[in-house]
């Protein structure tokens, strides 16, 4: 399909944004894009990876945290004149920020992007890339809608994204909100584009620095691939049926259980005779109260490294004890496809983590 549409993308050098941009440019050879560039070097690297596709991309220096995104007046007018869809993928995905810091980028930043979008003359869609974990501490079946915030959140990232969603729904824009789960790899190859909290937690367990986690072996823990997420966003951006829809880009009921995820990890690690020789015991999946006691004991004892390890896990690991299944009915109906089975990429992802030593090999090569 071809068009003369122009998409405005934030976060185009990020994990999701870059892949969305590539898909859109590949899928529609006539499509052109504005990308908001905050970090010029990161964009240069991203545009290099895009190759010839980058010729149809206009980089615009700016920052979502600034009013008007920091765009010059003429540039802003051009964006407002030509843009038919906005994909807002820029975010601060760190779980450990203060709420004010997270809001500054994720809530206020979304407000600034929505403000520009509201001035666009021919806007078909405002696509907000949120997170499935706006569900926060809620448990059970999580529907693809505003489920409220009564349950609270595990970290400031989730809360700031929830608040951004709420603002977008009330904005009067032709919005679609997509909520990806935790992205653990690109696809079935297991290739890891970006190390995140799940990978860092796995590293802690692999090193034997933590040996228990809260939860239950039967609880589901949702992860997803970036290729599925990017493909879905690219397809939904101009899908009329997706208007005013909230869409979970998650494994949903296909999610593996915590027991399956943990067992697979230890099985993969045990393939290495050197690691096996250490006799690292499999992490115990225990109730939240016992884990909290362990956490408290470590925090009180003042051991710097172990405290740092547990602090780094604290912004993420409570989710393991908050069982939830993300409903994907809307996503599957709109995309006419199911999300990939996590069993097809979880093990390859684990092997990739080992092969590149949790991203350190890649960094050294770069």
């Amino acid at each position: 399909m071809t068009s003369k549409r122009k998409v405005f993308i934030t976060g185009a050098s990020g994990l999701v944004g870059e892949e969305v941009l590539r898909r859109m440019l590949v899928d529609d050879p006539a499509l052109e894009a504005f990308v908001l560039v905050r970090n010029e070097i990161r964009w240069l690297l991203a545009s290099k990876r895009l190759g010839a596709l980058a010729r149809r991309v206009v980089p615009l220096q700016g920052d979502t945290t600034l009013p008007g995104l920091g765009l010059e007046s003429q540039v802003r007018q051009r964006v407002e004149r030509e843009t038919s869809a906005v994909v807002h993928a820029a975010a601060d995905t760190s779980f450990s920020r203060s709420l004010d810091q997270a809001r500054f980028v994720n809530t206020l930043g979304t407000y600034h992007v929505a403000e520009i979008a509201s001035e666009c003359l021919c806007l078909d869609r405002f696509m907000l890339v949120s997170t499935a974990f706006v569900a926060g501490r809620a448990t059970g079946n999580i529907l693809e809608r505003d489920n409220g915030g009564d349950a609270g959140w595990v970290n400031s990232y989730e809360q700031s994204k929830y608040e951004a969603e709420r603002n977008v729904r009330a904005s009067g824009l032709p919005w679609t909100i997509v909520r990806p789960s935790t992205i653990v790899c690109r696809g079935p190859s297991g290739d890891i584009p970006q190390i995140n909290a799940v990978h860092r937690a796995l590293r802690v367990y692999h090193r034997g620095l933590a040996a228990m986690m809260p939860g239950d072996r039967a609880y589901h823990f949702d992860v997803i691939t970036s290729s599925y997420v990017a493909d879905a966003i690219a397809r939904l951006t101009f899908n009329q049926r997706a208007l005013h829809q909230t869409v979970h880009l998650c494994s949903g009921r296909r999610a593996l259980t915590l027991g399956e995820l943990v067992d697979t990890a230890y099985d993969v690690w045990a393939e290495n005779p050197e690691w096996r020789k250490r006799g690292v015991e499999r992490a115990i999946i225990t109730d939240a109260a016992t884990y909290a006691l362990f956490e408290r004991a470590v925090m009180e004892t003042g051991d710097v490294r172990l405290r740092a390890v547990l602090s780094s896990l604290a912004h993420f690991i409570p989710h393991l004890a908050l069982p939830k299944v993300f409903d994907t009915s809307v996503a599957e109906a709109l995309l006419d496809a199911s999300p990939p089975e996590p069993g097809t990429y979880w093990m390859p992802m684990l092997r990739c983590l080992l092969a590149n030593n949790w991203g350190q090999t890649q960094e050294a090569a770069a």
């Binding site: 090193r207 034997g208 620095l209 933590a210 040996a211 228990m212 020789k277 250490r278 006799g279 690292v280 015991e281 499999r282 992490a283 115990i284 225990t286 109730d287 109260a289 016992t290 006691l293 362990f294 408290r296 004991a297 470590v298 009180e300 004892t301 003042g302 051991d303 490294r305 172990l306 390890v309």
Partner: protein, 329 residues
Amino acid sequence: MPFAKLNGQSTPAIAAINYAFPEGLRTVGELADERLLKSSAETMESFGFGNVHVALTETPYDLAVIAAKKLLEESRIDPASVGLLIYGGTPGSMAFAPSEGAESAAAGLCTMSRFKYPSTRLQYDLDLPNASTFALDQLACTTLLAAVRIARSLCLTEGIERALCVSSEFFPANAGREAIFNCTSDAACAVLVERNGLRNRLVSATTVTKGYYWDVDSLRDEIVASYFPTARHVLHRTIADAGWEPSDVDWVIPHNVSMRSWEILSGLVRLPRARLFTQNIVRHGHTLAGDNFINYRDALDGGCIEPGQRVVLFSYGFGAHWTGIAVEA
């Protein structure tokens, strides 16, 4: 592993336990004032510690003799019936030095003094003419559990009627009293194992050794992390090897590490009926020489444990060893 019965013999059992603490007593506050703790007194108190016993004039050997003599006197057995003496704890010439002289005594290990063995002297001083002796080392807080396990095996395989296991440990005067958030006492403990006992029968024992953790200083974080899952594994295996279900266990007799760590381990192990004997943590702190048996004796004396009840003793020793023993009281 489960203790297999050989040719219909009775299961070997613990026939007697006795122990000795030095006269010196310090509160954790006093230890903190003397800079013998790494953590604050408040932290140690919140972990359940109150007092520890500190040897000022007594040597480890003195304590071993006191504990063993008390046991022999109390049990009124014929000393000639003891066929084996297993000694564990403070090594060689250091066993004969008081805490102030411990460091210089260590130098004696490079001279003929190294052959001054506390185990053989103990055999002589206790007048155990038929007891062959050997010593256990490098098992830290699992030493006495290992001694009992070996004694039990040798009773069965060599027909030994009685085996006396003695362990004595102390810290040199300036060595500090804290080992990874545990307050430690000096003490000695003696356990008599009999080939044919009806009470306190040794039903099973499990030991897991993980040599990876041999370097205690540099692998401290990994040791803290590995402690709990391995402890759970060993406790479950000890119970299974005894032919028991987790719900069969009446008592867990701990080593006196922090209450907090036992609360955590209890949450992980899930023995629905089991009670944990923790009274001695505040009274004595952690003794390398034999917490479990000191506690077991006190629990029996206090009427906590009734005949026939199912009891699991568990300890961890740096190095690293995790040991559990199942006993039918």
